[in-house]
C-alpha cells in the first residue's frame, strides 16, 4: 500500500514548552485518516510541521515520499489545505479569491469551483469581509478541493458548518476517497470522524497514544455494559481485572470492559437488575477512555 504521509519521531518544542513529541504516524493512499485530540494536544502543531509552516526540533516527515522541508513546494503542488483558524482577504470576493488561489496553484478550474460552491450552497459574489464564520469555512473547503489534489489536509474542517452542509461535506469526503484522494483531518466532532474515517490516531499531550483502523480500535477497545440495578450495588464490586472504568448515577451503572466479560457478567447476575445492554465502545468512548488514563 502506497504511503502518503509518514512522520518519524516528529518533535517540536517551543523553547522549553512541548508542542509534540516523537509523533510517528502513517497515512496510506485512499485513507480518510482522523486525527483526534483535545485543544493543546498537538494536532495543529503536527499538521503545521508536516506542511513546513513550522520546523521540527527533532524527527522528520515525508509526504508522497518527499521530505517535508526540502521538497515542500513540490509537496504543496499536490495538496489542498484547510487551516483550523484562518482569515480571508476581506476586500476580495469569494470568486476572485478562488481564481487567485487556483491560478497560483497552476490553473483555475472555474467549473470545479462552481460545482463545489453549488454543493456548499454559497454565493461568492460579495466581498469576503461580509462573510459569516460558516461562509468562510465553505470558501476554505472549496479552495482546498477545487484543484482535485492527491492529498487534502484539514484542521477541524466542519467547524462553523450547519448540519446539512456537514452531511454534504461528509459525502464529498467519501466520494473523494473512493476516487483515490487521501484525506487527513483533525476533528473534535468524533461522531463525524466515526462516520467517515477508516483510520484514526489519538494524540495526548503531544504524543500518539493510539493509531489504528477504526474497526480494529473498536474490537480492541472492548465493550460498555449499561446496567440498571433494582438494588443498591457498590461500584467497588466491579474493581476486577479487565474492567477499566465504572461510573454510577443513582441505580444506573456504566461499566467499561476491556478484558474478559465473563467475570463481569457473573458479578452483574449476582444482583437484581431491571435492564442491561452491551455495546461496543463508540469512538467517543474510546477517546474518553484514553484521556481518562485508561490506557
Amino acid at each position: 500500500m502506497e504511503t502518503v504521509i509518514q512522520t518519524s519521531n516528529l518533535t517540536k518544542f517551543y523553547g522549553k514548552s512541548r508542542g509534540i513529541e516523537n509523533v510517528s504516524i502513517t497515512v496510506n493512499k485512499g485513507d480518510i485518516f482522523g486525527f483526534l485530540g483535545p485543544n493543546g494536544a498537538g494536532k495543529s502543531t503536527t499538521i503545521r510541521t508536516i506542511l513546513d509552516f513550522i520546523r521540527p526540533t527533532g524527527g522528520n516527515a515525508t509526504v508522497f515520499g518527499l521530505d517535508s522541508r526540502r521538497d515542500s513546494v513540490a509537496i504543496r503542488r499536490r495538496i489542498g489545505y484547510i487551516p483550523g483558524d484562518f482569515g480571508l482577504y476581506g476586500n476580495m470576493t469569494g470568486w476572485k479569491f478562488l481564481e487567485y488561489f487556483g491560478k497560483t496553484r497552476g490553473g483555475y478550474d472555474k467549473i470545479s469551483a462552481r460545482e463545489y460552491a453549488k454543493k456548499m450552497d454559497i454565493k461568492l459574489d460579495r466581498r469576503m469581509k461580509e462573510y459569516s464564520r460558516g461562509m468562510r469555512q465553505k470558501v476554505a473547503i472549496i479552495q482546498a478541493f477545487m484543484n482535485n489534489p492527491d492529498l487534502i489536509i484539514m484542521d477541524e474542517p466542519t467547524s462553523g458548518l450547519d448540519p446539512l452542509i456537514q452531511q454534504t461535506f461528509m459525502d464529498i469526503l467519501r466520494e473523494k476517497s473512493s476516487q483515490g484522494t487521501t484525506i487527513f483531518m483533525s476533528s473534535h466532532v468524533l461522531s463525524d470522524v466515526e462516520k467517515v474515517c477508516n483510520r484514526v490516531a489519538i494524540i495526548k499531550e503531544g504524543s500518539i497514544v493510539a493509531e489504528e483502523l477504526v474497526d480494529d480500535l473498536h474490537k480492541k477497545s472492548g465493550k460498555v455494559l449499561e446496567v440498571q440495578f433494582s438494588e443498591e450495588v457498590s461500584p467497588d464490586v466491579f474493581k476486577m481485572d479487565g474492567v477499566s472504568g465504572v461510573t454510577k448515577l443513582n441505580s444506573h451503572m456504566r461499566i467499561m470492559v476491556t478484558g474478559n466479560l465473563e467475570n463481569v457478567l457473573k458479578e452483574v447476575s449476582s444482583h437484581r437488575l431491571t435492564d442491561i445492554s452491551i455495546h461496543q465502545m463508540t469512538l467517543e468512548e474510546i477517546f474518553m477512555h484514553y484521556y481518562e488514563g485508561g490506557k
Binding site: D52, S72, R77, G87, F101, A140
Partner: protein, 266 residues
C-alpha cells in the same frame, strides 16, 4: 517570481497608491502655483530658515527660495522622503506581518510557492507602485512650472526623482525585513516608521551637531541628497550605490528571516 502573487500585491495596493499619487500631485501643483505670489517675500523666509531650530528639521543644506527649484526642494523634498517612506512602510507591513496578523498566512503558505518567491514577488510589487508616486510628483513639478511660467531643469528633477524612488524602495526593503520577523502588522509598521523618523532626525540634526556627524552615515536620508541634485546639479553615484546595496542586503535578510522562521497562527 510568483507572477500571481506579484500581480495580486499590485492590485491590492493600487487604489491607495493611485490616491496618494493623486493627492501628492495636487498638493505639489498647488504649492507651485502660488510661488509667483510668494517670490517677492522670499528674502524674509530665507532669513527665517537660518534659525538653528528650523535647520534641525530641514537640515543644514537649506537652499534659498529665490529660485523655483530652491522653493520646491525646500517646500516639497525636505520632508517628502518621510511622507512617501511612511506610505510604503504601511503598505509593506501587511506583506508578511500583516498576513500573519489577519491569519491568512497559512492559506498563503499552502500554495506551491516558496517563501523566497513570496517575499521577492511582493518586494517587486513595490517597484511599479513607487514609480507611480514618483512619476506623479515629477509631473506635478513639470506642469506646475509650466503653469507659472518658470523654466525648470527637468533633467535634474528627473535625476532627483530617480534618487527619491531608489530611496523609497530602500525604505521598503528595510520595512519588508522588519515585517518578515514580526507577526503583528501594526507593530511592524510603527517600528519601521520610528526607524525612518530617527534616520530623518539623525541626518538633519547631525548636519548641525558635529559630535554626531558620524551617525548620519547610518541614515538613508544622507544618501538621497535631493536638494543637492536639484539646486547644485551634483549627483553622487556612490550614494545611489549605497541605497541599492541597502535594498539588496535588506531584501536578502528578509528572505532569510522569512525562510527560517516558524509561522504560527494562534
Amino acid at each position: 517570481m510568483a507572477f500571481e502573487i506579484f500581480k495580486r500585491a499590485i492590485k491590492d495596493k493600487a487604489f491607495s497608491t493611485i490616491l496618494i499619487a493623486l493627492l501628492l500631485f495636487l498638493y505639489i501643483f498647488w504649492l507651485a502655483s502660488f510661488y509667483p505670489s510668494l517670490k517677492p517675500m522670499v528674502s524674509g523666509y530665507d532669513q527665517l530658515l537660518q534659525n538653528p531650530t528650523i535647520k534641525a528639521f530641514f537640515g543644514d543644506d537649506v537652499v534659498s527660495m529665490t529660485t523655483f527649484s530652491g522653493f520646491i526642494s525646500l517646500e516639497v523634498f525636505s520632508y517628502m522622503g518621510l511622507v512617501i517612506g511612511a506610505f510604503i512602510i504601511f503598505m509593506v507591513a501587511s506583506f508578511v506581518a500583516g498576513e500573519i496578523e489577519q491569519k491568512s498566512s497559512e492559506l498563503l503558505l499552502s500554495l506551491p510557492v516558496s517563501r523566497e518567491n513570496i517575499i521577492v514577488s511582493r518586494f517587486l510589487a513595490i517597484l511599479p507602485l513607487t514609480a507611480l508616486i514618483v512619476i506623479g510628483e515629477m509631473a506635478a513639478i513639470y506642469l506646475g512650472g509650466l503653469y507659472i511660467g518658470e523654466n525648470i531643469g527637468i533633467t535634474w528633477f528627473a535625476y532627483a526623482m530617480l534618487f527619491m524612488a531608489v530611496f523609497t524602495v530602500a525604505v521598503g526593503a528595510i520595512a519588508l525585513f522588519i515585517s518578515s520577523i514580526m507577526s503583528d502588522g501594526k507593530k511592524a509598521a510603527l517600528i519601521s516608521v520610528g526607524i525612518l523618523f530617527a534616520m530623518f532626525l539623525v541626518e538633519n540634526i547631525g548636519s548641525m551637531v558635529t559630535s554626531i556627524d558620524w551617525a548620519r552615515k547610518l541614515s538613508l536620508f544622507h544618501y538621497a541628497k535631493i536638494s543637492s541634485i536639484i539646486n547644485n546639479h551634483q549627483i553622487s553615484w556612490v550614494n545611489l550605490g549605497v541605497l541599492i546595496a541597502v535594498i539588496i542586503v535588506f531584501l536578502a535578510l528578509a528572505v532569510i528571516a522569512f525562510r527560517r522562521r516558524d509561522i504560527n497562527v494562534s
